[in-house]
Symmetry: C2
Subunit: 147 residues, 2 copies
């Protein structure tokens, strides 16, 4: 197999995500949710599956991490959109926006850990809705992902 076979193989083998946890937040609908975490989002809890607890063991209160979520209430067939749901703003291709409506609606949320309680982790300023699946947690590391 040459590397050039990858597209056809990958197309025939869909990729399945397995949520590692879920968001517990007072935000329950898109209309009332802020567009970005730093625009007045509440603190929220991340409830992880007990099966991934070992992977969380080195997270600490005060750490800045990037939480990846699956924005399960998004529309996946949108390619052009009005940024920030504002019908007066010019349309943009979705890959030039942070709109949740896109082919693979993965949310990136830079947050600070404010509490840890076993497999539950409380974070500051998370704009994801209650019940949103959590896919991954990564430390802020790359020079272009740091403040």
């Amino acid at each position: 197999m040459t590397p050039n076979d990858a597209p056809s193989n990958a197309e025939s083998q869909p990729v399945e995500l397995r949520p590692i946890g879920w968001v517990r937040s007072p935000l329950v609908d898109r209309k009332s949710a802020p567009k970005q975490g730093h625009e007045g989002s509440p603190d929220a809890w991340l409830e992880f599956r007990p099966a991934v607890l070992e992977g969380l063991r080195d997270l600490r209160v005060g750490s800045e991490v990037i939480v990846l979520t699956w924005l399960d209430r998004a529309s996946r067939d949108v390619l052009v959109t009005h940024p920030r749901d504002d019908p007066t703003s010019p349309e943009l291709g979705v890959f030039s926006t942070r709109s949740p409506d896109r082919p693979n609606p993965i949310g990136l949320h830079p947050v600070e850990i404010v509490a840890i309680d076993g497999a539950r982790i409380q974070v500051r300023n998370l704009e994801a809705l209650d019940g949103t699946p959590v896919l991954d947690v990564k430390p802020v590391l790359d020079r272009r992902l740091q403040e």
Copy 2:
């Protein structure tokens, strides 16, 4: 349905990713790939599906974007690892590392667009391997994701 129903519903409905494109890179195996994009990675092309072309229309040469990939050669059953594949470094929970081996191996790559040719986009400093599925492209926007 209350928001508290979300976990059980989500667990019974696995999430399927649909690659929007693939990486074309001289990097063909993990051993020779740098750990992070700014550590001497080559330029690479992203070849997108024609079906998503409209979503790319507002990307420009010189823009900084975050490319999300599916690290398809990673191991998904790892929860604790030696950072940077260095057996002498202390083990850490994977959610405190950027190791590709993790339950949902999604790669985050901050890159600069250096050329655009239809549904092909060339980017600087991408450490992903040739054939890696591309999931999403997002503008650098959040204050904590900017340089």
